[in-house]
Amino acid sequence: SLLFLQSCKDQFLDKPVQGALSDEVLATKKGVDGLLTGAYAALDGQGDFTGGSGWESPPDNWVYGAIPGGDAHKGSDGGDQTPINAIATFTSGADNGFYNTKWKALYEGVTRSNTVLRVLALVTDMTDEEKSALEAQARFLRGHYYFELKKMWNMVPWIDETTTDFNQPNDKDIWPMIEADFQMAYEKLPATQDLVGRANKWAAGAYLGKTYLYEKKFAEAVKVFTEVIGSGVTSNGLKYELVSFKDNFDAATKNNAESVFAIQMVANDGTLDITNANQGSMLNFPYGTGAPFACCGFFQPSQMLVNMYRTDASGLPYLTDYNSHAVKNDMKLTSAAPFTPDAGNLDPRLDWTVGRRGIPYHDWGIYPGMNWVRDQPYGGPYAPKKNIHRQKTQDLYADLSSWAPGNAINVLVIRFADVLLMAAEAEANAGSLAKAEEYVNRVRNRAADKAGWLYQYVTNANPLAGFSTTPAANYVIKPYPTGTLAAKGKAGVLQAIYYERGIELAMEGHRFFDLVRWNAADTAINGYFNYESKVTTDLAGGKFLNGKNNYFPIPQYQIDMSTANGAPLLKQNPGYN
């Protein structure tokens, strides 16, 4: 027996790995396509690789783009998810764990994209064209992940498919590399794809334009945006167009003509889990007595945002003094106390963006105010709406298998209205003010289309019975009369564009990054703290410090991890210690 064991001991100790694949197995056309699908799958920022909870790395940036930009309060109550409160008030240090989670989620996307590129080089059963088209998708995705990193942290290390030492310094501006990835994708991607979720040429073009805009290369941006607006189609071949405003935020009408690039969400996908069902927004549902959602009362729109939807008699916004025309709220009122909603002029987009007292909350019933709010003095009276699924189609699009709701509403990375407003901005800076005005008005005209408004219920007792023909509020909206905007000059046009982005793209995670790149964050955000602190208690101590808070701090843990020869390679952003 001793001899027997001796002779076969080497075999005895060779145990194959179970349930896993090697590089070599994946180096085929099918395998590398699977790796590419995996690179798409990181778009939602959800998975064990982040080491944190789903809401710490939300793909719609509600924590990092919407709340710090003044779109919304953290919500819930004081003790809940306090790191978001620190982010909202710019009192957060580099050791706030949320930053680390977001960082890891994005670099996982970079890693998966790089893996595609690395393994692709080993594949033998593909033509060069096939390889190039696939490479272009991977580089589009990598461009997206780096774009997110860039706008969050500015200086981040560059890792590509050739990197072997992953401890790299953040000493280079990576805009040129991001630009190169989108440029390649714009050149090599087909106009349409077999599957609608794939990035196409025009998505790459729009993202390239967005990159130029952030780089303030306005002339290049005008050129590419003009091509995109003129010839762009979606991956499923629909000519880019503005659809009914509300259809952007409904799973039933996803991947429509306005969807330039979207993160695809699914409900009830067999995991009994909401990882693929907007998990990043799982906390952002009205919460309280009788609220039909399990969780959790976060992401409550601000009073300031609501005020921005006030229109004047001619249906135009109060570009500077909107807070002097505040919209009536139901603060300190119980749900049982009587309340009449504001009767003044309002932009109809308000009621697809914000849930407010007395107004139909999709088909869930009249929003009751305090009963659906967790702590009204703390987070204000409102609820988010763009991320909320419909009751009527919840069997299809809501995923209730976890302790908090999930749904199949896509996260819109770029939608056509965004492209138009970005193009307007580029035009205003380096092209035609008239063209800029035209783009802004195209967006406003869509909002003015009565078919896309919110209407009162046929009967409040049965919200599922449908909507009447009476608008839910006094909607008055008009485009800028032709030529009047352009006549205000570049600064005036830009002011209107900035404002239009604020109300068109509110609660979609853009605002903070927009304010920073416009160098408008200091005034806007400190003004917000001033105004909003009189409404709620949660923003006490909030202060935006220009030069520091323009970017988030590099996660302290990553800095610590980058130590080589006694000193960290990663350098902290200015102002953080």
Binding site: Q6, L272, A294, C295
Partner: protein, 1149 residues
């Protein structure tokens, strides 16, 4: 003819031989008859032969008849002898015998018991060892006895003075104990081995051996849980790795990782191998220490033993969480509004100056007679299956104005019982033991229990004199539902988070909860526990081995053993929809899963043993192969039409389905050798070398684990002979290497990819539904260069026996240097995801002292005391974590992303980290002054001293003097590792009564009391709060407070960051066990044909002395994940130990 002789307890045959030699007489006898005759004691100085023969006749059943020179020996008839004897005694003259008793060195020996054989007369020796006693007749026999010495019998004869020299009883030292791949006499041990007193161990009535081990062995730290079936945390000599620190168990020679299902009644012996000298024979699995267990074997004639006990656990009484009553809770709400400058008032409590409790909380604040409280409006369907149905619910809930005692709604008195029967026997043909145990421990927390059935069959067959074949097999079936978490989301935590104004049930008997306005977000813990009622599971395991032993050429023994375990289990659970909470689950989900595993160990060992004059040599060499396979399978489905547990299975749900499976394989192959040499019983040497090969390692597959040991029995040296109080003294030392690989997964060496529906699938087609397409992600980053973790251990120890065996001391000092510690530190984020491989990166050091003291006293003639003290201390220090970082953090809990535990270089594993509270901000001036200082020191006009500094909040200590509180001001706040722990067992014996008391204590550790995060701060969610929050929190009038100001907002300066508010002293002393037993007199038992019968009463966890404010200072965690193995001492509502009162009996016939 006259003969002189002085024989004590001597065989009759030997006595007759002496007479033959002195006289020339010959005895004719039957060998068989003499063999069964008891030993005799005779004293005679020149007495005639017949007198001596008469003495023998009196002490035995023999009769002598002289025929010439021949004396015939026969058995006498069984009549009248007792009476006759008594008559003779009565006629004899009573006289006094005096004398002095000395020990083997001639020193007077006090307290020796002296009795006259066959009578109840007796006395004791005094302080000098002198005594005097009355005897009747020359043939009286005196029995001298004393613990630690061999008892002696002496016949008085004609003497009036008898001096006696007692000889020490070395039997415990000669006791053979099982060690690694062999057995040694206790006195020859040169490694650090704790020999556990199994009888004492078993006095703790528990289903798990490891729980019983607490405080019973030096060097072993056990943290147990109040939850039935929870495997306690067992640590031998501190912490050795950053992951799994569980010791290796070796049961009847078969290594295993779990002994949770071992029937505690089956244990015969237990040894803990603590250092390299004893444990490195187990090579790559030895570093966490080895616990060797031998199960009982049969011997002698057939014996049946039945033992049983019944116990009742009583959960802690009173307002255990110090929770406010409903009126006080409402007052706190108003106080907070006052503190925050808000208008007073609340929908539930009204808008007056003082809160008024409502009659109903749902509808909000309703009074009796409110139309909304009309029961006709009530609608709740507790077993709803559609969200639309749920959306129409209208629940009506009365306020419980007197307050619900949530803790006692889920903690109830709970019974435990155990029945054990064993049958054993043996002869020179072989031996057998068969046992059965039924163990049923109900947990104090509802719906937690452990029901276990175990069977054991141990047998050995002797084929001739030199071949032995046998088996040890145990089969167990366990049913053990547990409460799975010990964090803020567990039912226990909800018992302090749930507001007391909420009743358990609503007006129609459905569950009430936090659904009502202002009632926080806690879940109804009663509902939570009740909804686990369909959760079932069954685990079974066959464990054991078959073996054969052959003796070869006198000195060799060849042993082969094939053993291991085949285990499997299944479980199912059902998640009910909920309706009473703020956060409800609207789905119903049924989960079912199973696991199974098979591993075997095949050991072949050749042992050589020979004693040559003063030399004794043992050499062993062999091979061992270990193969392990493990499988898992499970799934879940939603959408059940009926919640009948008999209906639900994975096939009958209508909703989404999911399934999973996994498996793993690993193997070890080892060569083993050991040498033990003893010279003249004085010098002891040992050597061990083991080579292990592991499937988990690729580039360097084999590791060597050597150890050398030496011992010197100084007391045997001539120069030590004159020390009267010292019986035995041995100094021993060893040095060696133990290995560890337990944390490394089987795929560690390879970079691999996998598909994962949750995180690598993507709905490229935009289906919104089930159309997500398969994608791949990296599952593992490989490290082919990983090798064994090396635990380099040095141990110095002494074994000493003092004062004629009355005092035994075993003391050890050790240092363990852990090198190449396998750790999977988080990789830099730019590397991306996948399991991080284990690399040989960390370093750690442990040192400490283990001490065990046993002492035995005879307090009075019948009153004996046996005291055992164990003392364990360890000091753990991390020397290196990874190349680029010197710490890793664990446990975020409710804070803002910062962790509670920081494991950092220079500190111990598990230490608590954060800001130190040095007081409150008592005035605005104080804050302004601090801020001004910050501005001055930093030169930044915006600088503030501390984020969120405000009146009544915490002021933190600035340790770097930079004028600002930053992350750099965090410091170590406490250490959950105790300075030392100890166990003291006092056992008293008085005639038929025995009493034992066992104390266990832990000293110098800190606890992170996270329950205070929930209870002492208003802003930590709107749950129930403590009396401290209302009565001892900061207000402008009350600066000398415990808790900070109560407010709605939470802040960096209150509960957003880990700080020292949560640190408490965790030292405690607990009366673990008090037992009073009564053993029936043997004379009575003989009548009812029994060998032994003992009854006992017992109290477990009778009292605890501690300053800790929480429920139980023994904070347990029932989480088996590797990462949490080194997190301990955090209390967020851990399952407390209960007091238990037990009655039991032990019967042998």
């Amino acid at each position: 003819q006259h003969v002189s002789m002085d024989v004590r307890q001597t065989r009759v045959k030997t006595v007759l031989k002496q007479i033959e030699q002195q006289t020339g007489l010959t005895f004719a006898f039957d060998e068989k008859l003499l063999r069964k005759t008891p030993e005799v004691t005779i004293y005679a100085s020149g007495q005639p032969i017949p007198a001596i023969l008469k003495m023998i006749e009196k002490q035995t059943d023999l009769e002598f008849r002289q025929v010439g020179n021949m004396i015939g020996v026969t058995e006498k008839p069984h009549t009248g002898q007792v009476t006759e004897k008594n008559q003779t005694d009565a006629q004899a003259i009573v006289r006094t015998i005096k004398g002095k008793i000395t020990d083997e060195k001639g020193e007077g020996l006090p307290s020796v018991s002296i009795r006259v054989k066959g009578t109840s007369d007796g006395t004791m020796s005094d302080i000098d060892g002198t005594y005097s006693i009355n005897v009747a007749g020359d043939e009286s026999i005196l029995i001298y006895s004393f613990i630690g010495f061999t008892a002696q019998e002496i016949m008085v004869g004609a003497r009036s003075a008898i001096d006696v020299q007692m000889q020490p009883d070395v039997s415990t030292l000669s006791e053979v104990v099982v060690t690694g791949y062999g057995a040694q006499r206790k006195k020859d041990l040169i490694g650090a081995v704790s020999v556990v007193d199994v009888d004492q161990l078993k006095q703790t009535t528990d289903g798990q051996v490891t729980n019983q081990l607490q405080g019973r062995a030096s060097g072993v730290t056990v943290v147990s849980s109040g939850q039935p079936g929870d495997a306690p945390q067992v640590r031998i000599r501190g912490l050795n790795t950053f992951g799994n620190n569980n010791p290796l168990y070796v049961v009847d020679g078969v290594p295993t990782t779990s002994i949770a299902d071992l029937n505690t009644n089956d244990i015969a012996s237990m040894q803990v191998l603590k250092d390299a000298g004893s444990a490195s024979i187990y090579g790559s699995r030895a570093a966490n220490g080895v616990i060797i267990i031998t199960t009982r074997k049969g011997k002698d004639k057939v014996k049946v033993n039945y033992s049983a006990w019944f116990g009742m656990q009583t959960p802690p009484r009173g307002n255990v969480w110090n929770t406010l009553n409903p009126q006080e809770q409402a007052q706190l709400k108003f106080q907070v509004q006052k503190n925050s400058g808000l208008t007073l008032g609340d929908d539930q409590y009204g808008y007056g100056q003082t809160p008024v409790l409502p009659d109903y909380i749902l509808p909000t604040g309703a009074k009796e007679g409110d139309p909304g409280t009309n029961p006709d409006l009530y609608y709740v369907n507790p077993n709803y299956t559609s969200v639309d149905d749920f959306n129409t619910f209208n629940q009506i809930v009365k306020a419980n104005k007197s307050g619900t005692d949530w803790f006692h709604e889920i903690f109830k008195p709970a019974p435990s019982t155990s029945h054990n029967i064993s049958l054993s026997g043996g002869s020179d043909q072989g031996s057998y033991l068969f046992s059965m145990n039924y163990f049923n421990q109900q947990g104090a927390l509802t719906n937690t229990y452990l029901k276990r059935y175990t069977l054991r069959s141990n047998s050995q067959y002797n084929i001739g004199k030199h071949i032995r074949i046998g088996e040890n097999l145990a089969y167990s079936i366990s049913d053990n539902p547990k409460s799975s978490t010990s964090d803020g989301g567990s039912a226990i935590a909800f018992s302090f988070r749930m507001q007391p104004i909420i009743p358990v049930y609503d007006i129609m008997g459905n569950y009430a909860g936090s659904r009502a306005t202002g009632m926080g977000d806690a879940f109804n813990p009663v509902a939570m526990r009740d909804r686990t009622r369909y959760d079932k599971g069954l685990d079974n395991r066959l464990f054991g081995n078959v073996f054969a032993e052959v003796d070869l050429f006198n000195y060799f023994t060849l042993r082969t053993s094939f053993g291991g375990e085949n285990y499997s289990g299944r479980w199912n659970s059902f998640s009910f929809p909920s309706y009473e909470n703020k956060e409800n689950s609207n789905t119903n989900t049924y989960n079912e899963g199973s696991y199974s595993g098979f591993n075997w160990t095949w050991t072949n060992l050749l042992t050589f043993h020979k004693t040559m004059g003063k030399h004794e040599l043992t050499v062993a060499a062999g091979t061992e192969a270990y193969n392990n396979k493990y499988w898992e399978l499970g799934g879940s489905t939603q959408g059940y039409f009926s919640f009948d547990p008999n209906y639900m299975n994975l096939g009958t749900g209508s909703g989404t389905r999911s399934n999973y499976s996994s498996r793993s394989l690993d193997a070890l192959y080892s060569l083993i050798s050991r040498v033990d040499y003893i010279y003249n019983d004085k010098y002891l040497l040992g050597g061990i070398l083991r080579r292990d090969g592991s499937s988990k390692f690729i580039n360097e597959r084999y590791g060597y684990f050597p150890a050398v040991s030496a011992g010197w029995r100084i007391s045997k040296e001539g120069f030590m002979q004159g020390i009267p109080w010292l019986d035995d003294l041995k100094i021993r030392a060893n040095y060696g290497v133990m290995g560890n690989q337990i944390n490394v997964g089987s795929g560690n060496a390879f970079t691999t990819y996998t598909s994962n529906r949750r995180s690598s699938y993507y709905d490229l087609a935009g289906t919104s539904g089930t159309g997500a397409l398969e994608g791949f992600e990296r599952s593992q980053i490989g490290n082919p260069d990983a090798i064994w973790e090396k635990d380099i251990s040095t141990n110095i120890g002494i074994d000493a026996t003092f004062f004629k065996g009355r005092l035994d001391v075993i003391a050890d000092y050790y240092v363990k240097n852990i090198k190449d510690l396998l750790f999977n530190p988080s990789l830099i984020g730019t590397q991306g995801g996948g399991n991080v491989p284990f690399v040989n990166i960390g370093q750690m050091k442990n040192k400490g002292i283990d001490l065990q003291v046993n002492s035995k006293f005879d307090i009075g003639r019948d009153l004996k005391l046996n005291a055992t003290l164990t003392f364990t201390s360890y000091n753990n220090k991390i020397l290196k974590v990874a190349n680029n970082t010197n710490y890793f953090d664990l446990e975020g809990r409710g804070f803002d992303g910062a962790s509670i535990v920081r494991n950092s270089v220079g500190n111990s594993i598990g230490q608590f980290f954060g800001y130190k509270v040095i007081g409150f901000w008592n005035s605005d001036e104080e804050i302004a002054a601090a801020n001004a200082q910050a501005v001055q020191q930093t030169g930044d006009p915006n600088a503030v001293y501390q984020d969120g500094a405000a009146l009544g909040r915490f002021r933190y200590e600035n340790i770097n003097g930079d004028g600002q509180i930053t992350a750099a001001d965090r410091q170590m706040l406490g250490n959950p590792n105790p300075d030392f722990s100890y166990g003291l067992n006092l056992a008293f014996n008085y005639k038929q009564l025995d009493l034992s008391i066992f104390f266990y204590g832990v000293q110098g550790n800190q606890i992170w009391n996270q329950t205070r995060w929930w209870s002492d701060f208003n802003s930590s969610r709107s749950g129930a709060k403590s009396k401290i929050a209302l009565y001892d929190s900061w207000t402008p009038e009350h600066h000398n407070a415990t808790a900070p100001i109560q407010e709605n907002a939470s802040s960096f300066s209150t509960i957003n960051v880990p700080n020292s508010y949560f640190i408490e002293d965790g030292s405690y002393l607990r009366a673990k066990n008090v037992q009073l037993g009564y053993t029936l007199a043997p004379a009575f038992l003989k009548k009812i044909k029994m060998q032994q019968l003992r009854f006992y009463l017992q109290a477990t966890n009778l009292f605890t002395i501690t300053k800790y404010s929480g429920l139980d200072p023994e904070v347990s965690r029932n989480n088996s994940a590797n990462a949490s193995q080194i997190v301990f001492g955090i209390d967020e509502g851990s399952y407390p130990s209960s007091k238990q009162y037990t009655v039991g009996l032990n019967l042998t016939f």
